[in-house]
């Protein structure tokens, strides 16, 4: 059973958001990494890239599947997790401990449109 972490925001496309001041730390959920299987590659954005909420910002790939990543909030990329470039399996080992990118939010009120852990679990249960 996929786990969730309390206190994070969740998107319908299986990203999680942890808020640190005005910065959104973004990753993929445990449910998502389970569904993908052994990850072989994380296609990441570059620092300074700007995204609208809901815009595609990268992808995760396994041997037989690929899934696009969608930015849960609007903003500018301030940091990417370079460790994932050589070790995509970190997302399989612990999806919540390994973030993908940090975004300086342009409109933090967008967080209100995301789910909490309980709502996300309920959504996953229906998939």
């Amino acid at each position: 059973m996929a786990k969730t972490v309390e206190g994070l925001y969740y998107s319908e496309s299986h990203e999680w958001v942890k808020v640190e001041g005005n910065v959104a730390v973004i990753g993929i959920t445990d449910f998502a990494q389970h569904a993908m299987g052994d990850l072989s590659y994380v296609d990441m954005p570059e620092v300074d890239d700007e995204f609208e909420a809901g815009e595609e910002f990268g992808a995760v790939e396994s041997v037989k599947a690929a899934s696009d990543l969608f930015c849960p909030v609007s903003g500018t990329v301030v940091e990417i997790n370079e460790e994932l470039e050589d070790a995509p399996e970190l997302l399989n080992q612990d999806a919540f401990a390994n973030w993908i990118m940090k975004v300086e939010m342009s409109d933090p009120s967008e967080l209100e449109g995301l789910m909490d852990a309980a709502a996300y679990e309920a959504m996953c249960a229906n998939e």
């Binding site: 072989s40 590659y41 396994s62 041997v63 037989k64 995509p88």
Partner: protein, 485 residues
């Protein structure tokens, strides 16, 4: 099959050579070129003798399975027998030695073949004219979609930039549409596996360039509403594209042109018996209805009044040039050889015999394997894994176990409509004995799934190599000799 572990580079020894060339008596040498234009160090290619090369590639070939090795029921790939006469004709020096820019007067034989093969394909499919330039099925798809877009653009109908693709379509359909600058609109299949006409209707408007269909579809089922679909799409101003990957069961029985299709491609390496060559070269001729002839790509072959054949680069409003020269001519020679060998009578038997084989296997195995849609199939059909789901044995396990028994695996995990899809296509060139042997082994494997599931989960056991670590291959790609070790 036996395992052999060398790369040609492993055999290399400085000072050996595998070539013989005329003695160099010229005065000029490459070393006269300015140093800034010359390569700094020789490429690290292997240095091997001629026999080294012959043995090495012979050893490699012995780790491969082809149609000549055994039954190859790969769904949607039409792995029929590749007649040997095709190869002899394609190798004739009178064809193989011709430069593609030679003046038309010196290649009338070539151009005649181009014209006659086009005519034969038009006859078989009910289309008005063909281009033989596309190199492969996916290339044909792209070319056909370019013709469709060019048609709309030439009429000033520039907002038609969306194309409808069923969810059961081959992955190349949406990919080709995207390369052609079209937006994909998906239409769903009904529970019986056919396109849902009711789901289609609301999608049809003045932004639709057309619809891409495979008939029979990837489940091997004939889209019986095709004439209604054609009328609906035509009424909204769109065109119908026929993906000819599944043409084999219809050859001689149904012509796409008569179903209302405006554009199609054929895979000469499927329906017309040219060898797959481990992934190519193939050929993907594109046929069109009369109103689209002017949009076919260039160069084209045109017959003048005195019967001379000429090559033209501009006629009508072509979609453009899609190939360096005029396609994979060697493949065209093979396909026409096949058509001449069969003649008009035997061409009409291809479809029925292919369909006979597929239904025979389906009916013989449906007690052991899950048949999601009970219906007469065409050239292929899809099982959704074993009937008994309790064993934990997957489609992958079944496919790998078949290799142990000397059969190639069917297509697996496609179409995506079923989780454990096994897609089987026998073709008309396989005998009842071969099919019976396959049926027997499939039943045996179904029994093994209950009695000895471990032997399936760890299969194959007898092949030159066993299951591979594909995850590491993708995580740390090693794509050349230099990066090994």
């Amino acid at each position: 099959m036996k395992y052999y572990d060398k790369l040609i580079f492993d055999l290399s020894k400085a000072g050996r050579q595998g070539y013989s060339l005329p003695v160099n008596r010229w005065e000029n040498s490459v070393s006269e070129l300015p140093a800034g234009l010359r390569r700094s160090a020789a490429p690290a290619l292997p240095e091997v003798s001629e026999l080294d090369v012959v043995r090495h590639y012979t050893n490699l070939s012995q780790m491969n399975f082809g149609v000549d090795s055994g039954f190859y029921p790969l769904g949607s790939c039409t792995m029929k027998y590749n007649p040997k006469i095709n190869e002899e004709i394609a190798a004739m020096p009178a064809f193989a030695g011709l430069h593609p820019l030679q003046p038309y007067q010196t290649v009338q034989g070539v151009l005649r073949l181009y014209k006659d093969l086009s005519h034969a394909l038009s006859e078989i499919t009910g289309m008005a004219e063909f281009t033989l330039n596309p190199f492969a099925g996916a290339h044909g798809e792209l070319t056909g979609l370019m013709v469709i877009r060019q048609y709309h653009m030439s009429r000033g109908d520039i907002k038609r930039t969306r194309i409808i693709v069923p969810d059961s379509a081959h992955g190349t359909n949406p990919a080709s549409a995207a390369v052609c600058g079209l937006e994909i609109v998906q239409v769903k299949s009904k529970a019986n596996g056919l396109v849902d006409v009711e789901d289609l209707k609301p999608l049809l408007d003045d932004t639709i360039a057309g619809i891409m269909m495979t008939n029979p579809n990837t489940l091997g089922l004939f889209e019986k509403d095709i004439k209604e679909i054609a009328a609906l799409v035509h009424d909204c101003g769109g065109l119908l594209y026929y993906d000819g990957a599944n043409m084999n069961p219809l050859m001689g029985v149904v012509r796409p042109g008569d179903m209302g299709f405006d554009v199609l491609h054929l895979n000469l390496h499927k329906t017309f018996s040219t060898p797959h060559g481990g992934g190519g070269p193939g050929a993907g001729p594109v046929g069109v209805a009369a109103h689209l002839v002017g949009h076919l790509p260039v160069p084209k072959v045109v017959e003048s009044e005195d019967g001379t054949l000429q090559i033209v680069d501009a006629e009508g409003e072509p979609c453009g040039r899609i190939s360096g020269f005029m396609g994979n001519f060697g493949v065209l020679l093979r396909a026409y050889t096949y058509i001449l060998m069969l003649g008009k009578q035997n061409l009409k038997m291809v479809g029925p015999l292919a369909v006979l084989g597929a239904n025979y296997i389906k009916e013989s195995l449906k007690d052991c394997f899950e048949l999601p849609i009970e219906s007469v199939c065409k050239h292929e059909f899809v099982f959704d894994g074993l009937k008994d789901k309790s064993t934990g044995v997957t489609t992958l396990d079944i496919a790998k176990r078949l290799l142990d028994y000397g059969f190639h695996a069917p297509t697996i995990y496609f179409p995506l409509l079923f989780h454990q899809a096994i897609m089987i296509e026998p073709t008309e060139t396989e005998s009842k004995e071969t099919l019976d042997g396959f049926i027997e082994i499939m039943k045996h494997i179904a029994a093994e799934a209950g009695s000895d599931p471990e032997s399936l989960k760890t299969a194959p056991h007898t092949t030159p190599v066993r299951r591979l670590d594909e995850t590491t291959a993708a995580r740390q790609p090693i794509l050349r000799y230099k990066d090994m070790n």
